[in-house]
Amino acid sequence: MTSLLILIPVALFLGLLGLAAFLWTLRSGQFDDLEGAAERILFDDDEDQPDQVNFESEKDT
């Protein structure tokens, strides 16, 4: 019984965390372009370094 008092709140908290994360992704537009996301994962580049990227990628596109 005492274990329940800890475990249930923990379970609920984790569940709520997941829900909150989902709602955040929804609000920040991460579901707006599912096809684009599927393509972007194939890009080799790191978006923090755009200059290197352009040079590399221009050759093979």
């Binding site: 329940l4 249930i8 379970a11 709520l16 929804l26 372009d33 755009p50 990628s57």
Partner: protein, 770 residues
């Protein structure tokens, strides 16, 4: 990844745009699309229809990342949009937009608020949020409920019930809103829809369970209430997503039409304004290769025009000053100046829209299968629940508590969980299959209406034919004429000239050496060759006699050397790929095939003859086409209309179901239930076949849902439906119905045509054409 187009078509489109900009600058026209975010930032949304792969995303985004002043450049591949943000003090709007053009993409400004996009996006997001909340609550409440069913007693059980209440009640209130709203709306119009029993069941079950929890009762239905919402929201969201996907695809196609025109103001200056700002009397400039944006009369300029999208005439027409042009006509060879004669409702387009609206009223009377089911189902459910309540009161001698409980159990058990999923699950699978084969389904109702078609009406130009002109035979041409014709035809934009060049190229001819090439719009091209004058164009202009009997079905290009005709090239509108097979398959299935065309008799008779179609009519006006279809429908026929032109739009709206190719006029695509992006006509066969299968599956699903009710309802009425039973019965019926929908993938036979390629490829081909 090398599929990104920098093709000549895209380039030429940009060239004409740049030309328009060069006169007056784009800034004045752009201002209405630019949004001011704050003092230092502006933004714009561009539609870039040629984006179709990861390589395009990268090229555009990296193209912008090099520029100073750009704060955001993000491509959305699903909607083919580019959203840009920049600092106006460092870079101007015109410069920002030129970047994407210079990269080889054709871009146009796009206003989100105009297409009603935001609203439907909001609905989708709301459903998704509600679905997430319901999913979270259902999982947790179910976890707690399982412990109770497993035998939790005393304090533990009560704690779990309170926790369930704590999670379920807010979730029900939040996630149930879409249903409650629709139920209230229905009741306020004194109607019953499926949402009324759903809302009633969910609210009563929650309230009753709360009461039980207060009074230390054993049985609560929190889990049933929230899982019910979860399943129903899943169905609702699927339905919405399907419609949204097709809608955004169609609205993309829509926004390809001209949103602006180049106006010549009094001092001769050119200025780019949006179509809505045009008024009759204005003089506008239409460059070669552009569509006429409004109805107008030719003031000056010589050119040929292509009316195929407007009236269905397959051959280009020579233009003279004083002639009237309808909006949507393609200007082919020379620049024109037009006086705007009508705007808004008074235009040819306005009349077509009026006809279309009248025709659509007939269609509004169609009720979807799900709604028809709801019309029977909802009253039955309410009556059953009420009877159960009264019956229990009488049987138990006035036990309110037990009676209410039994009545709620009936409401929950009968709740159309499976029914709510039965239709959308099947239709989303079906439209997914069709999408991969290059057919966009605008909404599920179209699939239902398409399922028992017995008459198919085709438009000729642009539907049965590809709209591309083809030479009849190349065997009789000698090499010298071929070489000359090829050299002369290389530069002109006229469709006959382009078709001639293509044919000769595929024959393996090499162009001759010519110089001083000049084009006379409306007549042809001439040049010098070995000291002689060579001409390619209209036969009388080349010095020959017009051959009237041939000019009926054919369009003729003549080649002359020093005013003596040396070769004649006859052209015909070519049949669309698969037209013959499609029509013969339809006829073999016992479907009545009819051709209605606005073109002249010989051209229509020729095509009908080739396709072995007996029923055809020529010279049809938009009104005549609608009348024909309405008569057929009045005679009890189910008519599928396949057409592309503006003149077909009213009949597309009037028919039981309708399809249009993606090359159709904007209004044609709007009016059609389905739009096919594949270049051949097999789309019609696929759509009919899959619609038939999907309707069968929908009916099977209804049968399954009814069978489930036949078992479960007696148990609920007699009071044997425990919360555990309700949970199992509901989930299992939903899963069965969904699996049955997925079975559609195996039921639909793979296409038999050899040239079948994936829908994605068709789409990318389309991109290049655009």
């Amino acid at each position: 990844m090398t599929c990104c187009p920098a093709s000549s078509t895209v380039k030429s489109a940009i060239d004409t745009k740049v030309d328009a900009k060069g006169h007056g600058g784009p800034e004045s026209g752009l201002a209405q699309w630019v949004h001011q975010i704050d003092d230092q930032h502006q933004s714009i949304d561009l539609l870039v229809p040629t984006i179709h792969c990861g390589g395009c995303i990268k090229r555009i985004e990296s193209g912008y990342s090099k520029l100073e002043g750009i704060t955001k450049a993000r491509v959305n591949l699903s909607t083919k949009r580019l959203s840009l943000e920049w600092q106006p003090d460092k870079i101007s709007a015109g410069q920002v937009i030129d970047v994407v053009s210079n990269l080889g993409f054709d871009a146009r400004p796009f206003d989100k608020s105009q297409s009603g996009e935001k609203d439907s996006d909001k609905i989708g997001k709301e459903l998704l949020r509600a679905l997430a909340v319901a999913g979270f609550a259902a999982a947790n409440v179910m976890l707690l409920s399982v412990s109770v069913w497993a035998g939790a007693q005393g304090m533990t059980r009560e704690l779990f019930q309170w926790l369930s209440a704590l999670i379920a009640l807010p979730a029900v209130i939040y996630a149930g809103r879409p249903f409650f709203r629709s139920a209230i709306n229905a009741l306020s119009h004194v109607r019953l829809n499926m949402d009324v029993p759903i809302s009633l069941a969910v609210i009563l079950a929650s309230a009753m369970s709360l009461y039980e929890t207060f009074n230390h009762g054993a049985e609560t239905y929190f889990d049933a209430a929230i899982t019910l919402l979860f399943f129903l929201l899943a169905g609702r969201y699927l339905d919405h997503m399907m419609r949204e996907k097709a809608r955004s695809a169609v609205s993309q196609l829509l926004s390809l039409n001209s949103t602006g025109a180049t106006v010549i103001v009094e001092d001769g200056e050119h200025r780019f304004v949006s179509v809505s700002d045009l008024v009759p009397g204005m003089i506008i400039h239409v460059a070669a290769g552009e569509r006429v944006p409004v109805d107008g009369q030719v003031v000056s300029g010589v050119s040929d025009v292509d009316r195929s999208l407007v009236t269905g005439e397959s051959l280009p027409e020579k233009l003279q000053a004083g002639m009237k042009l309808e909006a949507g006509v393609m200007n082919l060879t020379g620049a024109l100046e037009l006086r705007v004669t009508a705007v808004g409702n008074n235009t040819f387009l306005g009349e077509v829209i009026k006809l279309m609206e009248t025709a659509e009223q007939g269609k509004a009377r169609y009720m979807r299968i799900a709604d028809r089911a709801a019309q029977i189902y909802a009253p039955v459910v309410h009556v059953l629940a009420a009877l159960t309540f009264v019956g229990w009161l009488w049987w138990t001698g006035g036990d309110w508590h037990a009676s209410t409980f039994a009545a709620i159990a009936v409401l929950i058990i009968t709740c159309p969980c499976a029914l709510g999923l039965a239709v959308p699950a099947v239709q989303i699978v079906a439209s997914g299959i069709l999408f991969r084969r290059g057919v966009l389904v605008k909404d599920g109702a179209a699939l239902e209406r398409m399922s028992n078609i017995d008459t198919v009406v085709f438009d000729k130009t642009g539907t049965l034919t590809s709209g591309e002109l083809m030479m009849e035979s190349t065997a009789t041409i000698d090499d010298e004429s071929a070489a000359l014709a090829m050299a002369l035809s290389a530069s002109s934009l006229h469709p006959l000239s382009k078709a001639l060049h293509k044919t000769l190229k595929s024959r393996g001819s090499r162009p001759a050496k010519i110089d001083k090439l000049t084009e006379t719009p409306g007549f042809g091209v001439e040049a010098d060759w070995q000291g002689k004058t060579v001409k390619l164009g209209e036969i009388s202009w080349c010095g020959g006699q017009a051959l009237q009997h041939q000019a009926d079905t054919n369009s003729i290009v003549a080649l002359s050397v020093d005013n003596t005709v040396s070769a004649i090239f006859p052209f015909k509108d070519s049949l669309r790929t698969g037209a013959k097979q499609t029509v013969s398959q339809l006829i073999s299935q016992g479907i009545n095939v009819v051709i209605l065309s606005g073109d002249r008799e010989p051209a229509v008779a020729d095509i009908a003859d080739k396709l072995a179609v007996k029923g055809f009519q020529w010279g049809m006006t938009p009104h005549g086409k609608v009348k024909f279809i309405e008569n057929q429908i009045a005679a009890g026929k189910k008519v599928l209309m396949v057409g592309d032109g503006m003149n077909d739009a009213p009949s597309l709206a009037a028919a039981t179901a309708s399809m249009a190719p993606s090359t159709a006029s904007d209004i044609g695509r709007t009016a059609a239930d389905m739009v096919f992006t594949r270049p051949d006509l097999y789309a019609v066969i696929y759509a009919l076949d899959i619609a038939q299968h999907s309707t069968n599956h929908v009916l099977q699903n209804f049968a399954l849902a009814i069978a489930y009710n036949l078992v479960a309802v007696p148990l609920a009425i007699t009071g044997f439906a425990s919360p555990l039973f309700a949970a199992i019965a509901m989930s299992s019926s939903s899963i069965i119905v969904t699996s049955n929908a997925l079975r559609l993938h195996w039921m639909v036979k793979p296409p038999k045509t050899p040239e079948e390629t994936s829908g994605q490829m068709e789409l990318s081909k389309q991109c290049e054409v655009n």
